[in-house]
Amino acid sequence: MTAQAPTQSASRNEEPTRRSRPPHRATGRKAGAAALTIVTWGIGLLFVSPVLWMVLTAFKQENQAATDPPTLFFQPTLDRFAAVWDANFLPYVGNSVIATLVSTFLVLLLGIPAAYALSIAPVKRTQDALFFFISTKMLPVVAVVVPIYVAASRLSLLDNIWTLVVLYTAMNLPIAVWMLRSFFLEVPEALVEAARVEGAALPRILWSVMMPIMAPGVAATALICMIFAWNEFFFAVNLTASQAATVPVFLTGFITSEGLFVAQLSAAALMASLPIVIVGWIAQRQLVRGLSMGAVK
């Protein structure tokens, strides 16, 4: 690929070689830098301490979880995780996986061609279409949930996971179109032009010329869609009951039915969050690209 030169520099910027400091800097700076490093670590740990505390609590017995002062040293146990698992956790995970993966796939299926069209079309119409897409994100979900609820109940589509799939697709599509468009704009025009001159048809240009360059951008978009779909709560709690409920709904049902068991709650919260946290950790670079909508140049 000859095309990587201008577009890849953004991700390469994160490598440690970026801004090499002049070697003649005084050593007094070094002490300051070390202090700043310690401060940064301290703030980072402080910031994430609620999560660390939740993780710690999840490994406690229930009577160690709610004590004053808090228990720091204890024999870790997996009992609470087992209890959550036994509370029929798996079907909820299944629903969440379907809603997340299928809706993300549909978003890409609809969004990639749309973003392609918007990245080459004349400016005026493009602005209108882009404005329309983003304005649907401005539309508060509460303003559409009533008719959706009424329609779903008349069509017997309440408590049906495919209802959530459609809604999550609509929820993420506008942002995805915006993101994907900005990634399309990074593809060098000369490359597309060359393929066109050689007689390649549009689908072929999209698939074999643009997609290889776009791959990180598509991954970034997919990641953002997955995060928002997995974490969605409003539609899930209002439109599902027992059959199609997702992981966030599981989490709320868990506390009301079981009373307040803090260790169990921590274990459940941890298990419910873990898939997205791990995916997000692994794909940090894509996450940054996605959030900054390819504005990183």
């Binding site: 490093t37 703030i43 609809l110 069209a117 918007l118 404005f131 994100k137 209002n238 950790w281 940054v288």
Partner: protein, 316 residues
């Protein structure tokens, strides 16, 4: 742009009607790929909203099935005289604005700290983005039952040397409690955006500034901040879109209470719909919220669009 131009020059050699036909065909070829997404979005988001407008003109309470009737704008009159609705509207503005501003300021601070080379930078960044990835429902539960709980909560334990050992956060300071959880959740988002901005900055400019003897503060204000502007605007826009619609945090942390002290519009409308079953009223509220949002968003988008629309020109 140049692709369209070259098509035009190619077809300019042909006769006039053929040119018109091929231009139209080219136009459709260009717009065609947009259509599925456009139609889908209109069907799933705009049709329900039209239905909401219709419902808002009717009296319809699910508890009284025979209550359906056209009532004109009566629902709207009720909305504007509903003190709780106005309170929820003010809460929405307060929560959204404070959360976005505070999260952005913290995000900028954290991003500046992380834009250096030090041992374990990747690890610290990974730690800091974690709150954004955690399920928001889990975040709310975590703050309610583990952090802000008056007796066993970690926060009061840490603050007990300062004499706030038994403060009941959720009932005595509900809006602040919601804000703490939301700011914690959204700061990583802002941090990642600003960090992306910082790392896309041209090192040469900074070095030139250093050579010219600019202080660190001067360089930050006059070079770095203007460069970050696009990233900050994007963060404020996206953050506002999502925080305005916050539902889970309030549903779990405070239930909008005590009373309706911490209810925002999404939560209040939800209450009226799914607990009060007043479809007509809640539909009218939804329409009012949308109109309000459109007014604010149009102003905001104008601003953002100006920076986004010349991305291509600015970089080619």
């Amino acid at each position: 742009m140049s692709t369209a131009a070259s098509e035009k020059t190619a077809s300019a050699a042909a006769t006039a009607p053929r040119r018109a036909r091929s231009a139209r065909a080219a136009g459709w070829a260009r717009r065609g790929p947009l259509m599925p997404a456009l139609v889908f979005t209109i069907v799933v988001t705009q049709l329900p909203f039209l239905a909401t407008i219709v419902y808002s003109l009717r009296s319809w309470n699910l508890l009284r099935p025979d209550s359906q009737a056209w009532v004109g704008l009566a629902n709207y009159a009720a909305v504007f005289t509903d003190a709780q609705f106005l309170g929820a509207a003010l809460n929405t503005i307060l929560i959204t604005a404070s959360c976005v501003i505070v999260a952005m300021l913290l995000g900028i601070g954290l991003a500046l700290l992380l834009d250096r080379h030090f041992l374990g930078r990747g690890v610290v960044r990974t730690l800091i983005i974690t709150p954004f990835l955690i399920l928001p429902v889990a975040t709310a539960l975590l703050w309610k039952h583990i952090m802000l709980e008056p007796v066993f909560g970690l926060l009061n334990f840490v603050l007990s040397p300062f004499g706030v050992g038994d403060f009941e956060w959720v009932s005595q300071a509900p809006v602040v409690s919601v804000l703490i959880a939301l700011v914690w959740q959204w700061t990583p988002f802002m941090m990642l955006l600003v960090l992306a901005g910082l790392q896309s900055q041209n090192g040469d400019v900074l070095e030139a500034g250093q050579v010219d003897g600019a202080s660190r503060w001067q360089m930050f204000v006059w070079i770095t901040l203007p460069h970050l502007r696009r990233y900050i605007e994007l963060g404020v826009l996206l953050g506002s879109i999502y925080v305005v619609n916050t539902f889970d945090t309030i549903y779990i942390l405070t239930q909008g209470g005590p009373g309706t002290a911490s209810a925002n519009l999404p939560f209040y409308i939800y209450q009226r719909t799914f607990l009060g079953f007043d479809i007509g009223q809640s539909a009218a509220m939804g329409v009012v919220v949308v109109i309000g949002t459109i007014i604010v968003a149009t102003l905001a988008l104008r601003l953002i669009f100006r920076t986004f629309m010349n991305v291509r020109e600015g970089n080619s």
